[in-house]
């Protein structure tokens, strides 16, 4: 169902970021459904019309006013040089929720140790402009070639001497027998708009709402809720243990020798925290998932 009175045109990344992005919007409160034979994804908010675009193309669509706001990468903002306004950073991805890096990699058994060892060599990359600038700034003369994909394989196949490729964990790079010798660019997804859209109060209100709720959902992803009953006389020691994000919610129970304590903590700390809480006397510890934390 197309929107009847949309305020903003939103560009969503197609491809490897598509599924995690639609999932992030769902947790933020927007259901987006891409119909099989349809060009426009359906979104359950009459104030938004959405489009799925290649992440590389979103910057210029926003610059030209074809879209008002969109999600793209810091890398492609730089590569395209589009004149847009960054609203916020959104650190998420399919694999790891870590920022990604464009790295310079060579064959594991090659003699190259530093970028300058590649003078006069062929470098294959999808990020042509940024890579050319990187080597120019470093004063190293190389032949940078645009790569239409499968870039990691090119060094092994003898089609390039080095590559500049994006990676989160380095796993794929190493699995191709390559060695990283430099970091060219750290990147992550960003919420981006145009100065024109930002200057329009109605559009800005909507963009800020999207930003607030995306941030809340992203934050909730790495957090969990913990609830427990603690003996009233152990309350101080137990509160002391708690690396709480917000201040804990503490309430006296009907049986006044116990208090209920409810906290929000980082998922990564739970596995060490729970044994300590239990040792201090907490009982009935339960952990539950969160949709959003504002």
């Amino acid at each position: 169902m197309s929107s009847t009175n949309p305020i903003i045109k939103l560009g969503l990344p197609k491809g490897s970021l598509e599924k995690p992005t639609l999932s992030l919007f769902e947790r933020s409160g927007w259901k987006i459904h891409q119909h099989h034979r349809n060009y426009f994804p359906e979104i359950n908010d009459p104030e938004i019309t959405a489009r799925l675009c290649r992440v590389q193309e979103i910057p210029s669509y926003i610059e030209d006013g074809i879209l008002d706001v969109g999600l793209t990468g810091k890398d492609w903002l730089l590569e395209t040089g589009a004149d847009v306004k960054v609203v916020s950073d959104l650190i998420y991805s399919k694999v790891s929720n870590r920022p990604a890096r464009w790295v310079l990699a060579v064959a594991g058994d090659s003699p190259y140790k530093r970028p300058e060892d590649l003078a006069g060599k062929r470098i294959a990359t999808e990020l042509l402009g940024v890579t050319q600038k990187y080597f120019k700034d470093a004063g190293i003369d190389v032949d940078v070639q645009y790569s239409w994909g499968a870039t990691e394989a090119k060094v092994v196949e003898g089609l390039a001497d080095a590559i500049v490729e994006v990676t989160e964990t380095g796993t794929t790079i190493r699995a191709h027998g390559l060695r990283i010798i430099a970091e060219v660019l750290v990147t992550n997804t960003q919420l981006v708009t145009s100065e024109a859209a930002w200057a329009d109060p109605e559009k800005r209100r909507k963009i800020e709402q999207i930003d607030l709720l995306l941030q809340g959902a992203l934050r909730a992803e790495s957090l969990v809720g913990l609830k427990m009953n603690v003996p009233s006389d152990k309350l101080p020691e137990i509160l002391n243990e708690i690396p709480c994000l917000n201040s804990p919610t503490i309430a006296e129970l009907t049986d006044t020798t116990w208090h209920s304590v409810e906290i929000v903590v980082d998922q990564g700390l739970v596995r060490d925290l729970i044994p300590r809480l239990k040792a201090e006397g907490a009982e009935g510890i339960i952990e539950y998932a969160l949709n959003k934390v504002i």
Copy 2:
């Protein structure tokens, strides 16, 4: 593991509704597992035996006492004319949780504007009887033909002048270049039983239990829990903001300058509510998902 002492025989819809139905039952408290080489789905309730049937066939199975209770559509109840008792409406589907409509659609570039323009023409549909009655009631003489599937394509292929087809959002209809000119029937899933089963107190108790929990799980689907700490002196203003379903749960915290407020609200309202709550002074707002709301 087949049930040893079943009270009721339950018919579940096979096909496009199968996955959302099994998921709804799971959230309601019944795990149903369809084994690959087995005819009878396993259900973790010794009082129920389940069968997966075509939604079109469930009405007559219930009428004939082969099943006691089942999920089918208002449309197929009408088409088959089966003599059964409707227990309740269950509004859910794969795509949209909206009721579906059987619509009369023609080629986008055809001259037909109203049903009466189709006098003397061929109409293809899977819902033969209802469609024939619709045109007869309207005094329009048409040639209604049963369609074995791919009905939307028939107008484009020149095999029919119009179709009567079911749609939730109209997307597939439009994607085939068709134009909707009338609504023939609004339909949704219903929980259906026979008078005989309903008259048996044991069966009725079980059917009412199923109904209560399915409704509770369906309601929970569009709701979320919100928990927050609010300054005690802002409590009235904040409670005023809240479009709460049940009355909110309010408790004084140990630190008496704060109260804990916990509410259940419609997911669709959250994206506007959260910014307002924050503006009023609420802190530590967390949102969590619900399985059931009774």
Copy 3:
């Protein structure tokens, strides 16, 4: 990203248990990601290195000190006779969360009723040693043959007179037209370590942490949280109804004619409990899912 300072080497089961195991670890607080072209799964805990192994091979890897701790089955511990220490039982599987059984099954229309009827016959099984011992202990002379898979089909195809095969629900056995005539072994997943690892305090602390959190996540799987408001004067009756795991968390609300009650109960009891709570006067009943219950 490989761990820099691992304390223990952990063996995870590959194959049919792989997905439920990784999901169990995720709910326990460890994200494990198996990269396509990589041998070592990535785990977000620098103290652990993980490997995916066949469940049959894990016992000997632990016995030989190649792994410190792992998940395997009681059946394969017996079959391999490996000298290892069982830390705990972990009852879970893809289908049913019930322990699995190795059963002796024959063609449904065969004359065999008891194991002794199979004297002199061919038995196909993947669990060769255990099966041979079972018949030897029973004083029955049979020809046990190792089966490389598709064991259930062998009786129907005339390639064996009986089989010993693992099953949770008996469904696949029956779907092949077979009849179970005896139970050879009840089995389930176990957390297993070596005496050497258990004797090392650092390793033991880590193994106990893994055990505590796996158990907490497994327990949470069959439990849900229920929250409700109850009239203060009905509190005793309602508390009486509740088959609560931990003691309930009861708090007076600001409106003192109501109390908030929060409990953790077995999912299987909820469908009978909710109607009773409602009948006793409870309101605003919500059910939510739990990640862990310690």
Copy 4:
């Protein structure tokens, strides 16, 4: 590319017969390509426009002049009672190149032995009219119910007492534990046209061309070419052995003590023929595949 000057509109069966039909047309000289997002399959003959239709709907499309010629089944001609002209029988299918049969089947362990044992019972079938007529002609009163699919499972699930279902080899029937007790109808694919199209000389010429080449390709499917050198003095004995379809092509070789013999024979006979030819002195026997045999 749509045809610019088509003579006939051809209906091809969608679904299980689609792939073998397109393959048969390809071997007959027509390449038909179904584009993903297109309604009309492309065919490399400007005199034909093709459409893919459900086999059940083709008879009425031809009767009503919406199509000129098509492939459908004898069964659906009878069921629909459409007034069309059968051009020829085309015996082919995905599995076996045998005609298919609609059979009456009951549970293997049921007491029913003959159709008359089913008096008063429920029969499920997709071929409603033919089945009703079959029982009426036999003077047996039964309740025939239309089945929307998965008909074989209905007897096992207790939803019907018997079924009438189509089968080539009986395999699926037996795999569901059913027993065939009568044959209701033998059917096969037919090339069908309307009297109007047949009366038009241009259309008739085209239909006859299609028929000739389909028949030629179908015949070639079960035939192979054999070529061999035979000693001139053994020629009579060897010719005597040969169950040749056309008369053999015999030519004297440059070395006049040998003749070349080339024959077309049924593939099913080759495995017995080759050993005999070899025994008689034939040498250099080669077998090759044929596209068409006219």
Copy 5:
């Protein structure tokens, strides 16, 4: 198995042309097998090492001497401007064996009729340079933007006013509701080498062998062999009917009243030829497939 003494390095196109190319080489006499975890496809000719590359990258690899010979498209030769030598045209593709065209297309319901109507508009294309030159040569000022894929959808989505995209049959273009208003470039696959490789006699011999056999296999694709017996007195009339590619092979049979005639003809002519041959008295007509025609 890697080649031990390769003469040439051959570049094969990855992606949509990969399967038809490997199939063409197989019919030409080279089996190429791409192993799952391997970079280099295996080829059963010790004189060749093969690599699968993006068709866009092959020209520059040949120009730089990284490959000796390869298959690429006329379009990408132009776009890259690489300095290479074209050995021959190879007209084949997945769909149609017709040359492909890069066309200028606009929304079906847009007012644009000719390229000049697009002055000042946005054109999306993957063939950036060729498209810019096309409009510059025509003196039309447009904004050509590089498209990272899904180009056809861009006009419908409002992201571009027109596109330049490749098509064989126009089907996909029309299925997106677009209208072709001009042809920018006709293209096809070409066998390409470098001047250096061509000047080396050993490499040239190998490249010419590849060319001869690829051409022979391509030619055979659209041809079939026909064999028939004809009455000796009808030989002249029948030979007159035959649009034979090579001169027919005619031999007197042992029964001298008949001759055997064997011809190679275009597959497209067979469906009209066979009825005529039959009418003239030919018997035992068989058609068979050809691997190569030199």
Copy 6:
């Protein structure tokens, strides 16, 4: 359709050899169809009943008389030590039509160069007995462990020091970074029977027929037919060029200045032969595929 009067019970290999085996039988004249829900594959020869079995289990089924004849590997004959009779070798496989080898492989960067360097180390393999015997015969003391699959990965994962694994081309071995240091066993598929079946004249006739036709189809796989017209005066030179398998079929054409020459040659020689034949004056060279060569 089960056979009514079978002479022999045939065992066919399940798994990776299944598809090439069924294809080989099809080219040999037997269509074998494995129905989805059926245990027994259908075969179009009433004298044969077929079963699909694991290649490892076929030897013992034949030894015990459960099957009469089957296809298995030389490796599993040795491993099982079954007392059976080998009828013939059948060199075919999915990849390469080369015999496969079980090789001893170690990590590419390990110090091991020869089998004796592995004394005291762990060797993982699926071919336990043969591997133990190999090392025992060589007087090397190692710990051979049975591997349940994914054997190549074990060295990299640190679970074994070396492996013994089967390979045709060595590609997978190398792709895992392993180095082959010895060949333990060369193996290939064999047609195997029991002495009892061989001694039965009816069974032996049938087994010999199967063998003759399988061999004929296998031979045809690497051969093609070539037909050409040659000037009568060049006949001797051209015949001299031809590496013909059977003697060529030479016939004078009606135009006596030309002869027709037809030969069967190895596919691998064609790419060099065709240029030479053309150079000598041959015309109208066509190549066609063969089903069988006896």
